[in-house]
Symmetry: C2
Subunit: 297 residues, 2 copies
């Protein structure tokens, strides 16, 4: 196994991804673990990292982004406030380690005062996207558990807004009375119908949810259609509120393939031009951008 | 223990309430159990009922309302369709029992074709309210896990709409990321602020939720304020969608005291006149109304 020049880590709430990097920016190998920040006490981060690096060489820099920098994480990396460039190594905090082979820095998240909002991890994806698209001016949408809409201009994060869309979908489909009528599969027309309904009458959300249940009982609504319409209702409500972000803008969608495809289909119905980028790749590009500034400091 | 003339039962999803009734309509005694329909297989209903009636006399009529009549309950009591008077004993189904001392009937729920909607139990509360207020013409709101708005005219249920407001509140406050920032206590001003926000911009719901989390992290939003604002956001969104029901109407609120007080405070801000009735009492009055029609048949 060849020695890593440095280590890139995306340490989220529920899992962590790690890349051993060569000096020229290529990936030597990649590891993944479910030892997310949510499961670890502060003193458990260092041993968790070392387990994933059995052949660690002397004094290897480690650059971390994500929830490991939260107050309840490994060590708090205080937020940088908007408007700001995506934080780089200059804003990172150094984390003391017991093992002298590790030199760990954690990149901070970004906070916004009003409306109050926070991100940890997405700022590194934005940074990676901007590294690959330095002239991009517009809106980056990061669908997920807590979807983010980020207005980027002249290389800065100008403002952003988070939506609990993904988490509400998970709760409703797994823990609510609706779970009895939902299932695998998908139906494009039902998704589009849900988007339309929610954009037209967002206030009726809690009623439209119960209608899904009642249509299942009375009219035999299928689980695929119910699931797609639920997703449409939630994404439609988000798009209605995010209109100041996407109206007249080009939107870059960063995320995992299936979810991004749903957002793209809804945005294209609204005649919003969309480009798509893979979220994991953008994270790695963002960590690489931070590493570059470290080397030139 | 004096012999009961008949037994009134409100058999819901998560619990059941039972009253042993005298011939003159007074309550001899009341029992409660957590053996709700959600925990019972069809064959377990009869033994559960018998356990609560240790001194049962010969051939006692039992009148049941609620989820015991659902497809997954004791025996299905098919819905009556709107517009309709609240179903009485003529629409009830007879349930065969092994014990010859029991004569069980289950009152059906009410269904609406478009928008698809269903109720089981609330129709009996409406019936009870109408028994006490026979000339009532207007809207009955039953806040709860699945809040109902019921338009009543000339003794009939004309139309209704259900909202998953209460269930969403429970899920968000107990299972979502928001649980870290919520707590006991209450703040009237924060509740009113949430109602205002949601009525003004209902689509922003999923964003306002995340703002609760971010204000906790950045600006020290207290758990009481966050809880009250969350409740206000949900009730405000419901009120925005239910406007065709309450606008220019008098509204009767049927429910448990704390929740009803929140709905009343929000409705009074909108200059909607409100009368309040206790939900459990209305259920019993509805079962008594059904018993009366049985005796005269």
């Amino acid at each position: 196994m060849s020695a890593a020049d440095w280590i890139a880590v995306d340490w989220g709430t529920s899992n962590l991804r790690l890349w051993r990097m060569a000096a020229d920016g290529t990936v030597l190998d990649r590891a993944e673990s479910e030892a997310g920040m949510g499961r670890l006490a502060p003193e458990e981060f260092e041993p968790t990292l070392l387990e994933l690096l059995p052949d660690l060489d002397a004094e290897t820099p480690v650059i971390v982004c994500g929830m490991a920098g939260a107050r309840q994480g490994w060590a708090e990396a205080p937020y940088v406030k908007t408007p700001c460039t995506p934080p780089g190594i200059a804003e990172a905090i150094a984390v003391p380690t017991r093992d002298p082979r590790l030199t760990v820095r954690i990149l901070p998240g970004v906070a916004q005062d009003r409306p109050a909002d926070v991100m940890r991890g997405e700022e590194t994806q934005v940074s990676g996207f901007l590294a690959l698209n330095p002239r991009f001016d517009g809106v980056i949408c990061l669908p997920g558990t807590h979807s983010k809409w980020v207005h980027v201009s002249a290389g800065e994060i100008v403002s952003f807004r988070s939506f609990m869309t993904g988490e509400i979908f998970e709760l409703l489909s797994q823990k609510s009375v609706l779970r009895h009528g939902l299932g695998g599969g998908w139906d494009d027309a039902s998704f589009a119908e849900g988007v339309d309904q929610a954009m037209g009458r967002p206030a009726a959300f809690a009623a439209e949810l119960f209608t899904l249940r009642a249509e299942g009982l009375l009219h035999g609504l299928t689980p695929e259609k119910a699931t797609a319409r639920l997703s449409g209702l939630l994404i439609g409500m988000e798009l209605a509120a995010a209109k100041p972000y996407w109206l007249g803008q080009s939107v870059a969608l960063l995320g995992a393939s299936k979810l991004v495809a749903h957002y793209r289909s809804a945005l294209e119905t609204l005649a919003v031009p969309v480009v798509i980028a893979d979220a994991e790749r953008m994270t790695l590009e963002g960590l690489k951008a931070a590493r570059k500034t470290e080397k030139t400091e």
